[in-house]
Symmetry: C2
Subunit: 429 residues, 2 copies
């Protein structure tokens, strides 16, 4: 028996919420598959249902009781997912597509940025932005453009994994491009936050090029060192660990390895998932990687749904009500940004110089903005550059890109495969 | 890239802390086994090292940043552990030892309570309790006695599981007694908190017997309904679930089942672990229980160390410094309570009327007080019945019982087995 309560979020509510997360994500995932959609789409919808604007089983806003706990578990969940994806990815194949991946990433950052920038200037002309200081218009447009540059690879990776398509050339290019995109995003973030800082203080100092350079160097340095040193040590390390006697030592060591890589990635400014993915790439070359992969699966099954549920839970369904007058400009802006966001990433697939590549798969794979786009939006809001209207619109855009990518990706694969006469088959793991 | 922070506890710190929890608990567990001690003892020590009074990697006090998250994960961890134990326990065997288990539980509650009660009266005589209102002495003694009655089965279950001794008659009696002990604890809690309430309000109304009766009824009712209804439905339910196509659906359904049982147990006032254990008993009879058990193992390996680390982390090592004058009475009281706590539970093993039962194993198995004893202590402190000195002493007693049980249990098994000429062998899972 136990009468204590855990801070703000009681133990029993947590146990119940966790059970509901696991059950609804599986039920909705199953329903999604039955109507030929990726399971992850069902999980996202399950998140919307459990989230604050519907059942409120799961806290969906920072500051709500228990939010921190679910958020942290979700972060571990998506890190484990990318770790798994890394384990299934061959480093050499990834390096081989490096040039094309870089091209995709650069184009997929440049075009959405330019299109988003111009859209916001147009919104301002039509008075959709409401009251904003005209001196700030350029800054608003730059920040909004930046929210369109990010790629959140979690959704795409999950769909590719569910469809057993991780070993395709397209999957490799998307994964590689996502890693490079993260570094580009880091640089853009440094520049934009520097610009905001300068504008707020009224100083017009030039951009700190050296500072931006150091940030980029740290990010590339991490990837390089992690892969080189990781490859040198991991094989021997895991042969040693394999000699230990205590229960579960192998999978726990592998998981810790991934968590530490995620931690270091975050320290140098990259997303934790980039670190976890790198850890997976490195451990894919150990002698124990098959056992690790098998034992990691149930752990991932428990943690990763929390991530997708939390992404869905962040959606405020009330914003989509067009009969609420103040939603109209938000939805209009969101719709335009959404089209721009999709088109901008979609074209990035066409810069790949290679025969037989399904360019639409790559373009669509880069579409989801996920939590990375939200970070930019939050920066815009908290610095006062975004009005709450523009912030809502950007959030809606991010959500739409996240929800639209899985079904589009499935269609892109199926259509091209049907054309090639391949068999589209799903394998139950 | 990501710049946001999760409320008070940054994502990267969480990733790092989680990695350290997994690594140190395995390393210390391995070291413990090398010196012929149970791995869980090593994990507890790892918790002390990571806790607030040493490295402070893990928050160890309610209210500290991130504490809630670790606490909630720990609760899930111990629930999963007891769920696993339940899966390996045969319900019929458990019911067969029911009479002896009840005897053990009742004696293991009555003797420590009486001994604790008398000890506190003696402390008062010798002036060890400091300034307390003499009108409250009886109440203080009752509350202190209550802290000695609880049995926290997590530690013992883990040791038995690590030693592959869950299928022994002794293990069954200890598990059964722990469940009954939890119900007794619930009743005692209701009585004691009623007495405190009455004393604080100055009213001398009689004990609400009906209220206490309802509490007991609810607890027994839950166990009865959960087992009967669970047995009727679970087989068909899991045959149905097994037909679903999405990844990991079986282990997630089983885990959700356990979490929901834990939730309901908490609602009726029992410990979540009692609910999780019951869920395990029920699912042990499904056709899929072997797959569930195998796939659950890595999940348990990730979650349960968090529990043992948090138990260890709660230890404030500074209290053990005898050169600090104000620690002297605390340590004296703690030492006496500790001896009483051990002796009181130890004798409970001798009431089992059965040939060939290792009575010392049962007695020792009931010793750890764990978090259940701390709940009573917290109630004593927050209601003003305990001085902070007495609270510290009780906390130290609880910690000592938790740390001393694993090695004692191992000795008890080994000695009796050596006497019987059995082979003591550890199997690596």
């Amino acid at each position: 028996m136990s009468v204590e309560e855990a801070g703000g979020f009681p133990v029993e509510r947590f146990l119940f919420a966790l059970a509901l997360i696991l059950i609804t994500s599986k039920v909705f995932g199953e329903l999604a598959e039955r109507i030929k959609q990726p399971a992850v789409l069902g999980e996202l919808v399950a998140g919307v249902v459990l989230g604050g604007s519907m059942l409120a089983v799961v806290p969906s806003l920072p500051g709500q009781a228990g939010y921190e706990t679910f958020h942290l578990i979700a972060e571990v969940g998506v890190a484990i997912l990318l770790f798994e994806i890394g384990l299934e990815t061959n480093l050499r194949d990834l390096i081989r597509v490096g040039f094309n991946a870089t091209l995709v990433a650069v184009v997929g950052v440049a075009i959405p940025f330019a299109a988003g920038f111009l859209s916001v200037l147009a919104f301002e002309k039509f008075g959709l932005l409401g009251n904003i200081n005209p001196a700030f218009t350029t800054l608003v447009a730059i920040t909004a453009g930046a929210t369109l540059t990010a790629t959140s690879v979690g959704i795409t990776a999950r769909v590719l994994s569910d469809m057993n398509r991780l070993q395709t050339e397209e999957a490799r290019i998307v994964l590689g491009a996502a890693v490079i995109d993260d570094i580009l995003g880091l640089i853009i973030l440094a520049i934009v936050s520097g610009l905001i800082q300068a504008a707020k203080q009224g100083v017009h100092e030039g951009l700190n090029i050296a500072g931006v350079g150091i940030i980029a160097l740290k990010a590339f340095g991490f990837l390089f060192v992690a892969i080189v040193v990781g490859n040198l040590l991991s094989k021997r390390l895991f042969d040693l660990i394999n000699k230990m006697r205590v229960r579960g030592v192998l999978v726990l060591s592998a998981l810790s390895f991934a968590l530490i890589f995620a931690y270091i990635a975050k320290l140098v400014g990259l997303a934790p998932i980039v670190g976890a993915f790198t850890a997976g790439l490195v451990l894919a070359r150990t002698n124990q990687f098959k056992i690790i992969e098998t034992q990691l699966k149930p752990v991932a099954d428990v943690f990763t749904p929390v991530f997708f549920i939390m992404v869905g839970a962040a959606v405020d369904v009330h914003v989509f009500n067009p009969f609420e007058p103040r939603n109209v400009p938000i939805l209009l802006i969101a719709l335009v940004l959404f089209v721009v966001a999709i088109a901008g990433k979609f074209v990035s697939g066409w810069v790949v110089f290679k025969e037989g590549i399904r360019k639409s798969v790559i373009g669509i794979g880069m579409i989801p903005r996920g939590e990375v786009g939200l970070i930019f939006a939050n920066m815009g809001l908290s610095s006062g550059v975004f009005s709450s209207q523009l912030f809502s619109a950007v959030t809606v855009m991010v959500m739409l890109t996240t929800f639209v990518a899985p079904p589009l990706l499935k269609v892109a694969f199926s259509r091209e495969e049907a054309a090639e006469g391949e068999v589209t088959e799903e394998v139950k793991p």
